[in-house]
Subunit: 450 residues, 2 copies
């Protein structure tokens, strides 16, 4: 272990905290600068806190440095989706095979836990209330301001990692000003508002615990993920503007109540106080932010700072954690020659960031429109059947993304090919509803795979 | 005239200076803040100064407020393209009909002239060396710093216009931080380097004066535009990186000389000192920058600040000047109700900004690859013939963009349709080379227009 190696991480969020553990294990002295106060001492802020869904890529990155079990303590398995129609009827769709699940964790809870981990496993020194004012990528130095004392400090290390989120100060203050740095921030038309569905009075859950609940309504949807305390964190995704079914038109308690009563009747029955709870959480926006390259000089962007996405595939955190896996492998491959590590990281990992974003947007349409569509559900059934018969020839897209380590870019490409095959087979088979699991249909798919 | 009306313009560039005249004529007291020193007092900076090509939209916007003749004094008409092949053979292609031309003007010259115009015709007070540090869009105020004295000033007006270029400080410091503001900066793979081809010793031109010269070479190209003093401003566009024909590999005087000798032999003959002149101007990058919306509160983005583009259609300045035309029309339509003016400006003008950018990128391929392609030249000849026969049914894309007031978005859409028709006709007509102007071919096009 080289005592002299040092690293700075900007941001004590999920990715920054985990990456601290990796760097520490590789012998780096890690210093983290975090803009916000220590959330473990303050009340956890309300607001932007859609629950997170941890899946295979996330667990792999956590387990590789021995911290997965810390997170397992606060994670609730969800084995499938439960769709709620306007009559209150439920349809269940498993996410994967028997025993496979994604895991609901609350953002506040996991944030605090990851900071513990950064300190305990990563020996990281975390400086809270330190805002990054500027950065010199070539030099590996940053200028931070202590927002409590007003003091401005210059800090420097062998390598610097910006894991400071979608609105990364390092990216904004340094990377976005670099010649030939590509960047885009594209907001989608839809915003979201969080709603907390409380537990029953006896502390029990008001909905099936081990599932992600969706109320798909075409152009908008409501979802619910379980919390440890019996409550569900629910999120309404809907266009900001528009003459109907938009946040703009829900501008009174009465309109909110009417909207829920008619659109999500079973939800309204569980939570008749929705009109009063409506403004407990702010209306927030959703954006995809792309960058390239992800490094310059001695600095690299990670997680949301590099590839912030919309939350619809539940892969934002998982993809960020996987950045740690990728960077760690490159560190070993190039024996910590950071010029080489960063150059390969940008080139190799960027297509996966792009694919993660494209998949996230695609899954928005799936969740909003298709999960309630009989053709879509039939297609998923046929795929599952075929995949069961020929597991080495077909892994459904959702499983590739969620339960495998297949690169996002490969999963995206394969998924689009599979979708075309399934659409062709379904279109060319009369009465497909009756013989969806017949040898004839399976044979057809097999042929098309070639 | 309402004495109380006030406007701030950030940026005393081409668009800002012209817009000052419009506002002044509408009764506004105009104050301009410009980051750079007064270029009329300093030596005109070398560097990023590709000559500009003024065409119809630009003239229209200038003439509407009576300043076109000021610019005519320094403009050189170019009636067509002259292509130079590797043997030094020349091919001429007119830009439009008899009497139509685009006009070469030097950036430095026109910049200085436009500042004169802003002061004389716009009664604008221009504050040089004032950098915009921040802006409050809702309040209509900006904070500027006098870079000579260090003084920081807050300025406020009824309306504020950011005409401060591709790297707009107002956009960066204010708009890019707004919730739901979409923005992208995408650099193309190619950079450019300017080369000044001097006049002959007797002051005469070394190339045909009234033309834009192109040395198209597939993946890269050299162009030359005439200046008033007998020189030509030449620009080499080429990929930054790559194993051959890239700026990266031209890293010695010898390599530069060899490159010009073998690739642009007729140019090298005129300018054998190219190896020594190579570094007179810096290597620069090219980007497309998109934004939306183009307004917020009391502020609007104009010109490159809203829709910076690559220079290949010669429409950057013209499109910026046309923003003045559009805003001026909306001011009249809405009787200077700026909320309405700005809202309509964003919605109506944005598709034209996008189309201008798409067209610019498209014309890069045209100039680089196609202007030397016999099929392309034949297609242009057929189009010109058809357009001559049926002027009300077909205006070639280049003419729509350059010599008409058709909206960029309409021109782009129509141009793509026309291109498809021409490709179909040419592919389905055997020996098209021989009967390209036959009634049969004309009839076919007529049918396809429908």
């Amino acid at each position: 272990m080289n005592e002299g190696k040092s690293a700075i991480i900007v941001g004590a969020g999920l990715v920054g905290s985990l990456w601290a553990v990796y760097l520490s294990k590789a012998g780096y002295k890690v210093t983290i600068y975090e803009r916000r106060p220590d959330i473990r001492l303050a009340e956890i802020s309300a607001g932007k806190s859609i629950n997170l869904a941890l899946s295979n890529r996330g667990w792999k990155a956590l387990d590789a440095v021995g911290v997965g079990d810390e997170i397992r303590k606060i994670a609730i398995p969800m084995t499938g989706r439960v769709m709620h129609d306007t009559e209150g009827n439920l349809t269940y769709q498993p996410y994967g095979k028997e025993g496979q699940a994604i895991y609901s964790i609350s953002r506040g809870g996991v944030n605090a836990k990851m900071m513990d981990i950064a300190e305990e496993y990563g020996n990281a020194e975390i400086h809270y209330n330190h805002e990054c004012l500027s950065a010199d990528t070539k030099n590996g130095s940053i200028r931070v301001k202590n927002s409590e004392t007003g003091e401005v400090i210059d800090a420097k290390a062998d390598v610097v990692f910006a894991a400071d989120g979608a609105f990364s100060a390092v990216r904004y203050n340094a990377f976005q000003k670099l010649d030939r740095f590509n960047f885009s921030q594209m907001y989608i038309e839809d915003g979201y508002r969080e709603i907390l569905l409380p537990a029953n009075e006896d502390g029990s859950y008001k909905l099936e615990l081990n599932a992600l609940h969706i109320w798909p309504r075409g152009r908008f949807m409501l979802i619910a993920l379980p919390n440890e305390d019996g409550s569900f964190t629910c999120t309404l995704f809907m266009p900001h503007s528009g003459d109907e079914n938009s946040f703009d038109v829900l501008d009174s308690k009465e309109k909110v109540e009417n909207f829920f009563k008619t659109t999500f009747p079973d939800f309204f029955e569980m939570m008749p106080e929705i009109g009063d709870a409506w403004e407990d959480h702010p209306l927030s926006s959703l954006a995809i932010m792309r960058s390239y390259p992800w490094h310059d000089g001695k600095m690299a962007l990670m997680g949301d700072a590099a590839h912030a996405t919309v939350p619809f595939y539940g892969q934002g955190m998982n993809g960020g954690f996987e950045d740690c896996t990728v960077l760690s492998e490159l560190m070993q491959k190039h024996n910590e020659d950071w010029d080489k590590v960063f150059a390969e990281y940008s080139v190799v990992r960027k297509p996966d960031g792009d694919a993660l974003q494209d998949l996230s947007l695609h899954n928005y349409y799936v969740m909003r429109d298709y999960v309630a569509d009989p053709d879509f559900l039939l297609q998923k059934k046929i795929e599952a059947k075929f995949s069961e018969l020929y597991p080495d020839k077909w892994m459904p897209l959702y499983s590739m993304v969620t339960f495998s380590e297949v690169r996002y870019s490969d999963a995206h490409r394969l998924g689009m090919q599979q979708d075309k095959i399934m659409k062709d087979v379904m279109a060319s088979t009369p009465n497909i509803e009756e013989k969806w699991d017949s040898p004839e249909v399976m044979e057809q798919i097999l042929e098309k795979i070639g």
